[in-house]
């Protein structure tokens, strides 16, 4: 397999995941704006902060309200992480590497590109947002379904999964960190009278609200939620789950190439660390510190993957 193709499929699935995460974030934002009348604009701003490109937003828009945030995240071409930019890049990568994709996977990503381009041609109103988000999530589920149902379980598949889990871990960690800044300026605030709906929002933005309730009988508390999103290895968007899968996919590559790689060592170390960690320890040393270190480590694993598998010249 060409190194450039490995890079292509890795990034194709990173961008696809990013696209879906954006949609999920907006859904959570919309939910909050409907239930919290008091500080709606503040809530939209918090959505923006999760994407960590607030500065760019301020450059382009004067006002932070539902319509500017929705359009910035969905349609803004100047925003390199907007849904439209992400899907454009995902599809460009798919075109570059279409010789390693099944017809089903290529056609599904091509279809989502055309559909979203048409869908996002005109500004999206709050009214049409739920429908738009639905389409984005369904379409990206279609690509994932085609991947699972038709692709060989070989190195190509491993790189696709790596891209997905690296991006997803990054996203979950950022969302938690962002909320931490807003909600928990100091550790002593844990358990105090924070607005519980904000925590609900976090769960919704990683599609974990429903399952959290199954497991915890509607008992929403910050520590429980952090434990769930960071350490529960059953939740497909938790840091532990993503780290475990990054490590597994790298091990699988190492096996099929019959070579030991630096990135394998790094990722299995990270996965083991999370497995043994308890939430009390994280809170004791500071959630923000933990998340910052996690993101740095994740980034260095991603860089090492690029080197190990000769993505670039």
């Amino acid at each position: 397999m060409l190194g450039r193709n490995a890079a292509g499929i890795y990034w194709m699935f990173r961008y696809l995941e990013r696209c879906e995460n954006n949609a999920r974030l907006l859904r959570a934002g919309l939910r909050i704006s409907m239930t919290q009348y008091d500080h709606a604009s503040q809530d939209w701003e918090s959505v923006l902060m999760a994407t960590s490109i607030k500065t760019l937003f301020d450059k382009i828009y004067n006002e932070c309200n539902s319509s500017s945030v929705i359009n910035f995240i969905l349609r803004e071409k100047e925003n390199p992480s907007s849904v439209i930019s992400s899907i454009d890049k995902a599809r460009q990568n798919a075109r570059m590497i279409r010789t390693v994709l099944t017809k089903e996977v290529f056609e599904s990503i091509n279809e989502i590109y055309f559909n979203l381009k048409r869908l996002l041609k005109r500004p999206v109103t709050e009214q049409s947002l739920p429908k738009t988000i639905d389409i984005i999530q369904r379409q990206s589920a279609l690509v994932r379904g085609c991947l699972h149902g038709t692709m060989l379980r070989n190195d190509v598949y491993d790189f696709a999964r790596l891209g997905t889990f690296v991006e997803r871990a990054d996203n979950t960690a950022r969302i938690l960190d962002m909320k931490y800044h807003i909600l928990l300026p100091a550790v002593s605030y844990v358990g105090s009278s924070v607005d519980i709906s904000q925590w609900e929002n976090i769960l919704r933005s990683v599609s974990a609200y429903q399952s959290y309730k199954w497991l915890n009988e509607n008992e929403l508390n910050p520590q429980g939620i952090c434990n769930y999103l960071i350490l529960d290895d059953r939740l497909p968007r938790s840091l532990n789950f993503c780290s475990k899968n990054i490590s597994l996919n790298l091990k699988s590559l190492s096996q099929s190439y019959n070579t030991s790689f630096c990135s394998v060592k790094m990722s299995s170390g990270q996965s083991l660390y999370l497995k043994q960690l308890g939430i009390e320890e994280i809170f004791k040393n500071g959630l923000h510190e933990f998340l910052s270190t996690f993101l740095v480590k994740l980034n260095s694993i991603s860089n090492q993957i690029e080197k190990d598998f000769r993505f670039y010249k």
Binding site: E107, N110, E111
Partner: protein
């Protein structure tokens, strides 16, 4: 001028080879066939069979219009084409070997030396070198037009990097999907084996005779207008699609960067023009090629298909000599006719062209895609005199041909069937001991009424081309 209509005779009755098809077409179920056009377009768009068009604003992806009515040829008609193409492609390969070795054809006084050596498609780097397996043009596409029941003319030879074969295959694939019932009713020869045959021909030309060879397709990248075809062929053959940035010369071999280190390439099917192939030998600014690949090539360690320098054989000025080239190397008369051609560099020819321009087609020697040509009968007085001025300034840059009465095949319109002019590009694969011509080809159709220009850049479309099992 009257034109040969391939579907209906002059009496208005359908020709035999279209009987079964028309029976299907005239059934009540097909009353709204025109509505299914959109269905076909969606297939093409979803599959990504598009070409890029760059305007000042932004890049747009366009579809080549696909007409739902197939063009049908009988087994006997196909035999004429197949034999003619085989003969032509063999002769062209002999010509290329000769022109880069002993140049017997020049010594025999058949082709003027200046026409070869002053031609920019002639590569002095290739003199005295024999490509692995001795083949120059592995893949050829011969453009044909039909003027009557049994008469086919060659309009142009494409022996550098002919394109269009993916349309031949995908057009058929689309027809299979949309009208499965037609193919159980009418026995049409398959075109789907082309990629497997291509891979076999490429492997057979490898410099490595013992081991299994590694083949790769070289593309200029995804912004090239034929990118779909490049990735399609690599995919169908199950080989890597490489770009300049993937390749490197290692220990005198061309290698590609894989996730497991560098892997040697034995046969490179390149879809990059000669001039961009090696910045050390040709255009030094090329970012599309591989620096040093010509040295590897000349050491015999890689096969480049088609060989560099094949362009000398499909040059528009050489074209007029092909019948003599065929006679010189095979001892036979050309089976497919050439269109009479006046080389404007020749004084007498130029005189004739200037006097008869309103009935001629005048083309640039190195032009392609239907750009920069004049169709005399369709041109206004001003256009004619403007073109005359251009022609006189640089006569050697032009050739002229009579306006042919291109055959027509109906296309589907809202109002029903309407005849439009067509050409045909069959594809040939050359191996050491045989030439294989896929039973089919790319039919291009001028969608504008009366137009003789079939190029997609000038609003032409395509049709599926059926060669019947029956004669």
């Amino acid at each position: 001028m009257s034109f040969y209509n391939e579907m209906f005779g002059d009496d208005g009755n359908a020709r035999l080879c279209y009987f079964k098809y028309l029976e299907w077409l005239n059934a009540p179920e097909q009353k709204n066939l025109i509505k299914r056009k959109e269905e076909a377009e969606n297939v093409f768009r979803r599959t990504g069979i598009t070409f890029n068009v760059y305007s000042e604003k932004e890049e747009t992806e366009k579809l080549i219009p696909f007409d739902l009515i197939p063009r049908i040829l009988t087994g006997d008609e196909w035999k004429i084409i197949q034999r003619g193409v085989e003969q032509r492609v063999k002769a062209i390969n002999s010509f290329l070997w000769d022109i880069y070795h002993h140049q017997e054809i020049i010594k025999a006084g058949i082709i003027p030396r200046s026409l070869i050596e002053q031609n920019e498609a002639f590569l002095p780097e290739m003199i005295g070198f024999t490509p692995p397996s001795g083949i120059y043009t592995h893949i050829a596409g011969i453009d044909l037009v039909r003027t009557s029941e049994k008469e086919f003319f060659v309009l142009e030879d494409n022996v550098r990097t002919p394109s269009g074969v993916s349309y031949m295959i995908e057009n058929r694939e689309t027809m299979y999907n949309m009208f499965p019932e037609l193919f159980s009713k009418i026995k049409v020869r398959s075109v789907t084996e082309y990629p497997a045959k291509l891979l076999k021909a490429l492997k057979a030309s490898s410099p490595q005779l013992l081991n299994d060879s590694t083949v790769a397709v070289l593309t200029p990248g995804m912004y090239n207008s034929a990118y779909f075809e490049h990735s399609f062929l690599a995919d169908q053959m199950g080989v890597e699609l490489v770009e300049s940035q993937d390749l490197q010369i290692i220990d005198g071999r061309v290698a590609m960067r894989t996730t497991q280190g560098f892997k040697i390439i034995d046969v490179l099917y390149r879809r990059v023009d000669d001039m961009f192939l090696d910045p050390l030998s040709f255009n030094e600014n090329s970012a599309l090629g591989v620096p040093g690949i010509m040295d590897v090539y000349k050491s015999g360690s890689i096969t480049i298909a088609n060989a560099p320098g094949t362009g000398i054989a499909d040059d528009k000025a050489i074209y007029s000599y092909i019948p003599e080239i065929i006679r010189f190397y095979t001892g036979q008369k050309a089976l497919l006719k050439n269109v009479e051609t006046w080389l404007c560099g020749n004084k007498e020819h130029l005189q004739y062209v200037l006097e008869n321009m309103s009935s001629l087609v005048v083309k640039e020697v190195h032009g392609s895609g239907g750009y920069g040509m004049l169709i005399g009968p369709a041109a206004s007085k001003q256009e004619l005199s403007a073109f005359k001025r251009k022609l006189v300034r640089n006569p050697a840059n032009y050739i002229a041909q009579p306006t042919l009465s291109l055959s027509t095949v109906p296309v589907l319109k809202k109002s029903g069937l309407a005849p439009r002019h067509v050409d045909l590009r069959p594809f040939a694969l050359v191996s050491r001991d045989n030439v294989f011509v896929t039973a089919g080809g790319l039919t291009r159709v001028a969608l504008k009424k009366g137009s003789l220009v079939v190029n997609s850049s000038q609003g032409g479309g395509t049709k599926d081309t059926w060669i019947l099992e029956t004669n």
